[in-house]
């Protein structure tokens, strides 16, 4: 488990991170959300030791982070970069060895990963000869080749076509399922919504929200329900303990006004009046939580 505690950082007079604390749990995909310039990349760089923190600590399984531990992390920087004139398989294998693999293992892992990422047929080509999408896949292979104990990926899906997103996603999920904590940043809320187990939302250098995605939804969603009946649903307005958000013909969206049982009152009233097509609790999207949190 990775624990970030009260990390702060300034560039000149500008405070970029202010008391940032969160954790990334084993076997879970943690989405790191934030607007541009909110401090996502700076946080990731500090975790990786590329930047120094001006305050706070980063711990791995409860002990302060060391270079030896970091060497086993997998990192995909926001600004992608590998050696343009070096062969794809060659440089991924080399990076694997730099991360501590022996030559044979590095070679084996590289071959397996490239096949998994559907890049096996380009293994001998120079990186610069690949399309941008394929370079992106190579970049992901570079982050994964040494079977990292922790993955930190800065915008891993940007620049990928939908099929590539699924391929990469499959590979990442497999790692998470093996117990590797995965922290990935994104500004595409829909992607994060679909992928992550945990969410950390950063805004203006401070953590606005963090926790399990489903708990956050429950916590952030005021108890809200959608009712669809056969006829006009305007009567819901008159049910006590209920505040109507929207009524549109047979469809009504309402929130509970304190009384926890009022949703059942509405449902029973609807059943007495006739057919009920649907009755569902409305879960807020990450986007809504995001907008509310920042």
């Amino acid at each position: 488990m990775l624990t970030v505690t009260s990390v702060s950082r300034s560039f000149g007079d500008k405070q970029v991170l202010d008391g940032v604390s969160f954790e990334v749990r084993p076997g879970r995909m943690t989405g790191f959300l934030g607007a541009n310039g909110s401090g996502k990349t700076t946080t990731m760089r500090i975790v990786l030791g590329v930047l120094a923190a001006h305050g706070g600590t980063v711990a791995w399984h409860g002990s302060p982070m060391t270079g030896a531990v970091r060497q086993r992390f997998g990192y995909m920087p926001e600004e992608r970069g590998l050696y343009p004139k070096m062969g794809v398989a060659e440089q991924i294998g080399w990076l694997g060895r730099l991360h501590g693999l022996d030559q044979a293992t590095a070679k084996r892992n590289t071959e397996r990963l490239l096949d998994q990422l559907e890049l096996g047929h380009r293994a001998k080509d120079k990186l610069e000869e690949l399309s941008l999408g394929n370079q992106q896949r190579a970049q992901i292979a570079a982050a994964l080749v040494h079977d990292p104990v922790m993955l930190i990926l800065d915008e891993p899906f940007s620049g990928l076509d939908p099929i590539a997103v699924e391929t990469v996603l499959g590979v990442l999920r497999e790692r998470a399922a093996n117990g590797v904590p995965v922290l990935f940043s994104s500004h595409q809320l829909s992607v994060v919504e679909r992928l992550c187990d945990d969410v950390v939302i950063i805004s203006g250098g401070k953590i606005a929200v963090s926790g399990a995605r489903d708990e956050l939804r429950a916590q952030y969603g005021p108890a809200r329900f959608e009712l669809v009946v056969a006829s006009d649903a305007g009567w819901v307005r008159d049910v006590p303990g209920v505040r109507v958000v929207d009524v549109d013909g047979p469809r009504a969206v309402f929130e509970l006004d304190g009384d926890a049982g009022a949703d059942q009152v509405v449902l029973q009233a609807a059943l007495r009046r006739g057919t009920v097509r649907s009755f569902t609790p409305v879960v807020p999207t990450l986007g809504e939580i995001f907008m509310e949190a920042i």
Partner: protein, 367 residues
């Protein structure tokens, strides 16, 4: 977490070795590297063999009469006697010989002979006939001016070639910065290991090339028939190799810093100026002051220029044994100092992006 993969922690030495390995492999695969080395080797052979071949051997001369034959005795011209002047003239006209030396009948010549040639006065024949007064040298130089100049040129030129070859280190560093792979590297291994790997890798490459040249140069000299010169050069060559290697390490560290303070290839020119001066300075310094014993002695102790100047002095035989040892020690000390300074500046500037970073700022950056 993951039971399959065996990790071992890469220490400083192992990381350095891996970085060096990549640098070397990258270079050995580049065509430019082999072309460069090939050109130097061909140049060496050309310099030592071609003059003998193109010179076409000895000048052929015919003589008429005993006095002419005697005048040319002991010269390195190929002399043949013919019966009379018309026969000699015929041979000159048919260009079988370059000149004919015949008895002087007009009494204009103090030597009593005349020279007949076709279009131009044959300088070597005239020179052979000229009588010069005998000279007694009180302190004869071991080495003539000609070979000395050639050796100075070659030593300086090879230093220049290797020194400038270090630009590849600066370019490699900028490439890593520009492609941002540096972030992955720095998050994986110590920055100092990255710098050390580059210096070690390129120095090994340079040493390899220097050794090839050290082996090839004597062969070229022998093929060119310069065995006496070889005997003179050999000790200097033995000293030149360690000087050149240390000099290269010194420059390699500085080239790496030059690459680290900028972020784009386009800006490299501005940061390479100083290092280029440190390569060109010794080159021109030794070439210009090769006749000034005092300046050359000073240059032979100053790191950078000592790599050329001390071997040159050794070649001319003006030096006692302790001198190159002291100069080598000074050079080695400077290498240690500069590498330490460079590693700090390199660490401070490697992750900097944007314009060129001032050295003082790179020095004080802690992250």
């Amino acid at each position: 977490m993951n039971g399959v993969t065996q990790h071992e922690t890469r220490g400083f030495a192992a990381a350095t070795r891996l970085v060096a390995e990549r640098e070397i492999k990258t270079f050995l695969r580049a065509k430019g590297f082999w072309i460069g080395l090939g050109v130097i080797i061909i140049g060496l052979f050309a310099m030592s063999i071609l003059p003998g071949v193109l010179g076409g051997g000895q000048t052929k001369v015919v003589t008429v009469g005993a006095q002419a034959a005697e005048a040319l005795a002991g010269t390195d011209l190929e002399v043949r006697a013919v019966a009379d002047v018309p026969a000699a003239e015929a041979l000159v006209r048919s260009e079988e010989v370059e000149a004919a030396v015949v008895p002087d009948t007009t009494a204009e010549s103090s030597t009593g002979v005349r020279v007949i040639a076709l279009a131009d006065p044959p300088t070597d024949v005239v020179a052979a006939l000229r009588t010069a007064p005998p000279v007694d040298l009180l302190d004869p130089a071991e080495v003539g001016q000609g070979p000395r100049q050639i050796v100075i040129m070659v030593f300086a030129m090879v230093f220049l070639l290797f020194g400038m070859g270090g630009t590849a280190i600066a370019q490699g560093t900028v490439t890593e910065k520009q492609t941002r792979i540096v972030e992955i590297l720095v998050s994986t291994i110590p920055v100092r290991a990255l710098l050390a790997g580059k210096i070690v890798g390129h120095s090994l490459l340079a040493i390899g090339q220097i050794l090839v040249l050290a082996v090839v140069a004597p062969i070229a000299l022998r093929l060119g028939g310069h065995s006496e010169l070889l005997a003179l050069v050999a000790p200097a060559l033995g000293w030149y190799v360690p000087f050149l290697v240390l000099g290269f390490v010194l420059l390699a560290a500085m080239w790496a810093v030059a690459g680290s303070v900028v972020s784009r290839q386009e800006d490299l020119g501005s940061s390479m100026g100083l290092v280029m001066m440190l390569v060109m300075g010794p080159y021109f310094g030794v070439l210009f002051f090769s006749d000034n014993a005092i300046v050359l002695t000073v240059l032979s102790y100053v790191p950078f220029s000592s790599a050329i100047a001390m071997p040159v002095r050794l070649f001319a035989g003006q030096v006692s044994l302790w001198e190159p040892l002291v100069a080598l020690g000074l050079l080695a000390g400077t290498v240690v100092l500069i590498v330490l300074l460079a590693s700090r500046v390199y660490s401070g500037s490697l992750l900097h992006t944007g314009g060129k970073l001032a050295l003082a700022k790179a020095w004080s950056r802690k992250d």
